[in-house]
């Protein structure tokens, strides 16, 4: 899951990025409001952690502009402003969650997973597609009850496909969701990961739509 982190404090930003990476998130970190706005407009992020006291442009302004552009990326506001009117204003301006510093990194991760899940219309924490069961929190996948060992990239790829079940996701979209900044992505990396997933979970799980991308059939979903 690729997350945009907008936080101006170097120590806190570094800690949040490292902590979220430990939980399997791909984190891009920007340090001011203008950069946050630019990246949110350009990138395909599953969610955003937004500090309010950002330099150059306040977090609330970034949030407001984002929603005015009909961008539905889930936004978790992480701030030191804890007054109730501040919370109300943040949520009313379009924040999906409002968390006051300091925050437990695992709680932050859980909240982000919950935001992403709800953004995709999922109710349960676990994702199911046929015999494949994916637990985002534990980062575990099982096929017909038997646990399957996946690499980080394979898990993220399957997670992205399961979240977007029924939709066709292009290779670029999948790349964007899998890799944060600073990674050189091989042109055939996605194909390689798809190949591995098919080998571990069976050929019929992921379909290729030639010239467009990949998809997981919702009809296979047991729920």
């Amino acid at each position: 899951m690729r997350i945009l982190l907008a936080e101006d404090d170097p120590l806190l930003g570094d800690g949040l990025r490292a902590g979220l990476r430990q939980q399997g998130f791909q984190v891009d970190w920007v340090r001011d409001g203008v950069a946050a706005e630019r990246e949110l407009a350009a990138g395909d992020y599953q969610a955003t952690v937004l500090d309010l006291g950002l330099p150059l442009k306040d977090g609330l302004e970034v949030l407001q502009a984002l929603r005015e552009r009909k961008n539905t990326t889930p936004v978790l506001v992480l701030t030191a402003r804890d007054a109730v009117p501040d919370r109300i204003r943040g949520l009313d301006l379009g924040a999906d969650d409002y968390v006051v510093k300091p925050v437990d990194l695992h709680e932050l991760g859980a909240r982000l997973r919950s935001l992403v899940r709800r953004a995709h219309g999922q109710v349960q924490a676990g994702l199911q597609c046929g015999g494949v069961l994916l637990d985002p929190a534990a980062r575990q996948v099982s096929l017909d009850g038997a646990e399957v060992a996946l690499s980080t990239r394979e898990f993220d790829l399957l997670h992205a496909l399961m979240l977007g079940a029924g939709r066709v996701l292009s290779r670029e979209q999948l790349e964007q969701q899998l890799y944060s900044w600073g990674y050189e992505v091989d042109s055939n990396a996605i194909e390689v990961h798809i190949h591995h997933l098919r080998r571990k979970l069976g050929q019929s799980v992921i379909q290729t739509v030639r010239g467009v991308g990949y998809t997981l059939q919702r009809s296979q979903s047991g729920t």
Binding site: L11, D14, G15, A18, P55, A80, R81, K101, P102, V103
Partner: protein
Amino acid sequence: MSWLPSLQSLQARLLALLLSLVTIVWLGAAVLTWTDAQHELDELLDGHLAQAAALLVVQQARADGHDDGTDDDGGLADPPSLHKYAPKVAFQVFHEGRLMMRSANAGTTPLSTLTRGFSTVRLQDKKPWRVFATRGGESDVQVFVGEQTDTRDDILWAVLQGVLLPLLLALPLLALLLWWAVRHGLAPLRQLSQALGRRQPHALEPVVLKDVPTEIQPLVQALNGLFERIDAMVASERRFTADAAHELRTPIAAIRAQAQVALGAGNDTTQRDHALQFTLAGCDRATRLVEQLLTLSRLEATANPGAALPLNTAIDLSALTRRTCADLAPAALSRQQELALDAPDVCLVIGDETLLGVLVRNLIDNALRYSPAGATVQVSVASRAGQTELQVSDSGPGMTEAEIARLGERFYRVLGNEQPGSGLGWSIIRRISAVLGVRIRVSRSAALGGLCVTAGWPAP
């Protein structure tokens, strides 16, 4: 009114004052009445004495005409006592040296040594008598008429009692009335004290009283002014606490996040070490912030700038600046910044060493902190025509006029600044300069292009 301070109550003071004044005036009136009545009475009774004497002279002259020398023992001349006051009155009539007629209590010797006019004498009964003496037309008749002075005193006492008795009776009544009047007059004061007494400890809204008397209005206004100032102070304290707590959240969140990353690093020692390093850095930052907050709150406690500190110590500004630069140099070098000092051997200013140290450190630290790596910071101490100046200029990005104007607001940070800081440094600089009487000027550095901050000491 040295006896009044023992009376704590305003009402008791007023009552005591009024009652004593009334008594004094009344007593004065009594004394006046006494002397006046005495004078009038003396005139009246003396007139009676003279009148009676004249009658006796005339009567004796007539008796001489048809009854000459028939009496020799004076028994004939002893008239009956007709009134209870008669023993207090006496008379003698002599004719050619012989006692012709006398009252029973008069004796046989002349009442007075004077032959004419008034005199006060003591007779055989040892009491003072007022005696009027006169002679007949041919000087052969000598008449003395006397009256006991006691009589006069009795009358005077009666008059005085007429004045003093009502006072004695009226005083308690008057005291009661005065007590009521004073109490009624002081009612607005009591209302004020009740209104104040009913207040909650934190209620600081102005006192509103209907129909406040003009004498109490200044008091109410002063009180309301005080409430306003206290309110502002409390609000400022509250804001400060809130701001401080708010400002501490970020470093604490950073420490927590980094510590959690270190815990979750597992076998990745590089990541763990990095996170632990950053945890320490976070602690240092929180410490610095707390120190700044404490410094600021201690400075704010010095509500009366200058008065709280005896500013009479001469401090070597050159040595102090040199020490501060030496302290800060390692941090500057680690960011490839050039820190240069230009100061005379000795440069004395008046001030407080601790505060001055904090001021100089903050000025230089700010310049280093908010200038990029590789920047130059030039510090100079100079004394010209008795005026001492400490100047800190840098080659950093500088500031716009609007940003310069907002410097010193708590927690104000220039946007786009990546350096961790709370903006408290400038609050501290402003505060200390106010306490020490140092002028701070912020301008653009002509030589280095960045910010130039000048601290100026007035000529001693």
